[in-house]
Amino acid sequence: MAMVRREIRFLLNDDEMRLTEVGAGDTLLDFLRIGQRLTGTKEGCAEGDCGACTVLVGRLTDDGLRYEPVNACIRFLASLDGCHVVTVEHLRGVDGGLHPVQRAMVDHHGSQCGFCTPGIVMALYALWMQTPRPSETEIEIALQGNLCRCTGYAPIVRAALAAADHGGPEGDILVTERASVTAGLKALHDGTRVEVAHDGQRAILPADVDDFAAVYAAEPDATVVAGATDVGLWVTKSLRDIGPAIFIGHLDGLQRIEETADGLTIGAGASYSQAEAALIGAFPHLREYWHRIAGWQVRNMGTIGGNIANGSPIGDVPPVLIALGARVVLRHGAVRRELPLEAFFLDYGKQDRAPGEFVETVAVPRPNPATLHGAWKISKRRDEDISSVAAGFAVTVADGTISDARIAFGGMAGVPKRAEAAEAVLIGAPFDRESLARAAEALPQDFKPLSDWRASAEYRMRVAQNLFQRFWAEHGEAQQAELRRAEA
């Protein structure tokens, strides 16, 4: 077996951290607030929804050092090995005073009670680094993971629009110190497996994907933690002990996205953000949908594979990928097998996955140019909400006749599931309003949705049926039938 390092190493602002006593469930937020007395980072919800704990995490990727805003409340400390953690205390202007983003927030009265403010500053800081002159749309998307209860956001958006007036990223500390931070992170990286523990709660960071396969095969009861956007809540909300836990968020080999003649192959460890450009490039109809998955911080953490592997009936990825005919590759040790994505979901809480086996890649075939697409999410609040209903439509029309139909829904059953009865009505039918109406009528044969706090069964069924009408309106009548995000 390879060498094992018993120490987590990362950079925190200007300091190098070397920690040996780290438990699987220890969070970055508690480490910052309790351990380091860096109290600028706040706890608002401890579930990754409010953004008050937003920090930046920088990591060396295939494309170099990349910083992203994440939620410290559900980010596990062990997962930070080899990273640069940047908190609000690190921000400063070139003159040592307020940072341009902070200056703009003060000038535009962007804070009232101030509790969400450090998190908002960090999200806007990340946006300003990427896009110093953002559009309102870009600002709204960047702030999907940040709640403010006081201001109504208008002054915060004004601040974001004006931040670059006070200076651009060129003089910023994360730019000027990029080379030294990169060197510092490279010096921390030794290519070994890392294993640490605290109170018996072991955290294992495999050296690479093959090492992960070996470790998981050997410890099939371990918790696999990728982005921790779900597992994080097991700890912060349910107080579960997750050790031993295998952390895989650092495995570049699991995050590769490849475009081939057959389509797109996405590593299961790719985050929503990492997969965004390739997926939207290949499937432009996913643009609106993709930006309605969670908030920016969670999209930077949560992974495509995690959204599939956890088997949730309300995950946003499965319905649209099932409609696109995606297949998953599962791996156990050195053994791989492949199956259609829909076949992975057996029943509520039950997936076709053996102990020690993991989702390695997802392959999405290149679309048929004759296929018409729809990807829609219905939720109580437009952004950063869990679906009441999510739907993927892929209907292929040849000479006015529907030759193929793949329609999948989330939120309508115990698993993400195809609407087989509705598909059967469509296949072979003329592509017209009537056919889609008949398919909608068949939907109760496919689904018996539940009522809960997100939506009633009646609403779920009605809205799912109405989406067939939307599909016709958009593709058959070229009528805009969806409230899209207004462009700036």
Partner: protein, 767 residues
């Protein structure tokens, strides 16, 4: 030339630079001393029942646990009812009254240990039948949790009978969680004798002080409550903090160690009260022109298991059930119903919004019935001379709505846009639009008249620096900067000279809650009184020393003019100190003119009214019920603003909070009485992308308070929340379009996409 930071200037929040750098300290950021313990609550998992056994042995055996607190550990009174009704125990001894009621606290060496230990309790409860909603409570014969109110004027039965048209309706109005970003927290340090000092995120330090003393069985002088700032309050920290302050203080005294209690977000939302849900039954009689003849209304509220503030909250719903409209004959009654849910409490507007939305619904009903533009009906019913008496017999003397609504109607181009929307909708597309212009008139003053008092303490140190303390609390609303602006002008010094300090019961006693939008009105006046006292002594000193008349002493920016001589402020203060002039004063203020006889339902409960109006346009997807707010124009009255930037922030933020209340924020209890929307993952407050892209907010710059308030300003915290009703009514219009506006849609609040779609489907089915 005025001083830097004088009233009416745009100034940033005094903590803005600290907010953006993370250097503003909240209670959880205070350095914990060695030995600090952490408490955590154990909650009931039954909505109603008798406690037959509470086995906490596993809790006590958990790692890191120091001990537990139950009802038996309370040396004083086991009661934290804010109005002395005795129905709000810290921990119940016998009967559980809601799912999520705190039953005990565990105290441990770390918060994590306390949280884990709390989950190990074994509590046996014999369930009793439970009721969750106000209508169910009425049907089950549940009691009013506090005395109902009736407001009556004229002959309502005759008025209704004589009306050309009558409409009866029912509207359910949802509650709202405060969702302040900083949750509840209290941190207590034991002192000598019976003393305890509590740092807490509370809007009402004096009440917390009295409650802690009451629970400990000690005099109030032994308890100090401190609060530097809150991470949001919105009413949720007016009475609800009492529980946490009490538990922290009890544990701190019991173990003689500092004790902090900070519930997680779920506990915070489950175990503390919210805005009251209401079911309102109304009947309105009107003539062919849409003029209201008579109104009868019954307002049943989900109050929860105890009275808390439900009396004044349901009273205020009735006080605002007229909103801006004259009802010639009226009878309004409240039913503050006991339910087996968390005890509902203050929330920005304090019942007023629930009254206002019913008034606006009645207007809409009339408009649809007569086929008229609802704005026309609104205007036809505004209070005006000859029709200016409210259902509580106060005369509306300061009405400026006609001007506000007229100006907004023009600036928002309401008429042209409404016509364009009607034309677009007539094309029959899937996406429909709606527009609505709604007003608000909001009564300012605590209806508990004795609450309308405030104190302040101002020290001028002999270097010329000034320390300002007042009884109000800072929760983000900018109270401290506004009061400091008043003090800056009073002494004619730059505001940088003034230090704003934490609120503490040691400096100003017997304060009222920072609530009812009254913070600046009350504390600004009290601070001014303190300044005037010190200034009077300084003038006397100057007259004596320089041998001038008082009229020859003038405070100019940064200096004092005495006769022909000018002296710098620092120098003048130094000389006054040497001459043994007292440079400190306690100021006081009580609101004049107000009186209220609740038994008769008559009086002048409000010193004045604040006004505003909003015009909102929305798009609605008629296939899914989803919607988007496209444009909002607001014209709001804050009198002569103390700080227009701060006030505009209150208007914008209050509006969006009101929109959240009426759209995406839904409280959902399951049949067992369990709240299932108890964190931001399930309870959805507005996001940046929910705000209107076009958002024109203006203050009515020509307005000044007709009453002699601080610098003729008006209260601003609550009134703008009700402007969010314009969004609700705009959604309603888009919904109504699917049936060509033939009827007023049955739409309850919050208008979630589900409720919107179901309202559309009902109209389609009836077509």
């Amino acid at each position: 030339m005025s001083v830097k930071g004088a009233p009416h200037q745009d100034l940033a929040h005094d903590s803005a630079a600290k907010h953006v750098t993370g250097r503003a300290d909240y209670t959880d950021d205070i350095l914990e001393s060695i030995g600090t313990l952490h408490a955590y609550l154990g909650l009931s998992e039954v909505a109603h029942g008798r406690i037959t056994g509470m086995d906490l042995s596993e809790v006590l055996a958990a790692p890191g646990v120091v001990g537990v607190l139950t009802a038996a550990d309370i040396p004083g009174a086991n009661d934290i009812s804010p109005t002395g009704t005795g129905d709000d125990p810290v921990f119940p001894a016998e009967t559980v009254e809601f799912h999520g009621q705190p039953l005990f606290a565990v105290v441990a060496k770390s918060r994590d240990a306390a949280r884990r230990a709390a989950a190990r309790a074994r509590v046996e409860i014999d369930p009793l039948p439970h009721v969750l909603d106000p209508i169910g409570a009425i049907e089950a014969g549940y009691p009013d949790v506090t005395a109902p109110l009736k407001l009556e004027r004229g002959e309502v039965a005759a008025g209704l009978a004589g009306s050309a048209h009558r409409i009866k309706g029912r509207m359910a109005i949802g509650g709202q969680d405060h969702m302040y970003l900083e949750g509840h927290i209290a941190f207590a340090m034991p002192g000598e004798d019976e003393d305890v000092v509590v740092y807490s995120s509370t809007q009402h330090p004096s009440e917390a002080q009295h409650m802690v003393a009451h629970v400990l069985g000690v005099p109030s002088h032994s308890v100090v409550i401190n609060v530097r700032r809150m991470g949001g309050g919105f009413g949720g920290k007016e009475t609800q903090m009492n529980l946490f302050a009490a538990v922290a203080a009890l544990a701190a005294k019991k173990w003689n160690r500092p004790v902090k209690i900070r519930p997680d977000r779920d506990q915070d939302m489950i175990a503390t009260g919210k805005r009251h849900d209401f079911v309102a039954d109304y009947e309105v009689g009107f003539d062919g022109e849409g003029r209201i003849e008579a109104v009868e209304g019954l307002f049943a509220a989900r109050c929860g298991f105890s009275a808390d503030l439900s009396g004044p909250v349901t009273d205020r719903a009735l006080f605002h059930a007229d909103n801006a409209y004259f009802y010639p004959h009226v009878r309004l009654r409240s039913r503050p119903m006991k339910t087996n849910t968390v005890s509902n409490t203050a929330f920005r507007g304090f019942g007023g919004p629930q009254g206002v939305i019913v008034a606006e619904r009645m207007i809409e009903e009339i408009a649809y019935a007569l086929g008229r533009d609802p704005l026309e009906i609104r205007k036809a019913n505004f209070y005006r001379p000859g029709g200016d008496v409210t259902p509580y017999h106060q005369v509306v003397e300061d009405n400026i709505l006609e001007r506000i609504v007229g100006e907004l109607e023009a600036s928002s181009q309401y008429q042209a846009r409404r016509q364009a929307i009607l034309d677009d909708n007539a094309k029959g597309g899937i996406l429909r639009r709606g527009i609505a212009l709604t007003p608000v008139k909001f009564g300012i003053s605590f209806t508990a008249t004795w609450y309308n008092q405030a104190g302040a303490l101002v020290h001028v140190y002999n270097d010329g620096s000034i320390m300002l303390n007042h009884g109000g609390t800072e929760m983000g609303q900018g109270l401290n900067i506004k009061v400091a602006q008043v003090v800056a002008e009073a002494f004619a010094v730059d505001i940088d000279r003034i230090k704003i300090t934490r609120t503490t019961t040691e400096k100003v006693p017997n304060t009222s809650a920072t609530a009812a939008s009254s913070g600046s009105d009350l504390n600004g006046m009290a601070a001014l009184d303190a300044c005037e006292q010190i200034k009077a002594r300084l003038v006397d000193f100057a007259c004596e020393k320089w041998g001038v008349d008082a009229t020859e002493v003038e405070f100019l920016p940064g200096r004092v003019k005495i006769g022909a001589e000018e002296i710098g402020f620092d120098d003048f203060i130094r000389q006054a100190y040497v001459a043994r002039v007292q440079l400190s004063a306690a100021g006081f203020y009580k609101t004049p003119k107000i009186h209220w006889n609740r038994d008769k339902g008559q009086g002048r409960p409000f010193y004045y009214f604040a006004y505003g109006a909003a015009c909102s346009e929305v798009s609605v997807d008629t296939l899914t019920g989803e919607y988007r707010v496209d444009r909002v124009d607001i014209l709001h009255d804050v009198g002569r603003s103390l700080n227009p930037a701060v006030d505009r922030g209150q208007v914008e933020g209050g509006f969006i909070q009101g929109v959240g209340w009426l759209t995406s924020e839904e409280l959902w209890w399951d049949g067992d009485g369990r709240l299932r929307t108890h964190a931001p993952s399930t309870y959805k407050i507005p996001l940046a992308s929910d705000r209107p892209r076009i958002f024109n907010v203006a203050l009515a710059e020509w307005s000044q308070n007709a009453e002699r308030t601080i610098k003729r300003s008006k209260a601003v915290g609550e009134p703008p929340l009700m402007l969010g009703i314009s969004v609700f009514e705009a959604i309603s219009m888009a919904v109504a379009s699917v049936a060509d506006y033939r009827e007023c849609p049955r739409l309850d609040a919050p208008a979630t996409p589900e409720r919107v779609l179901m309202a559309i489907e009902r109209l389609r089915a009836e077509r």
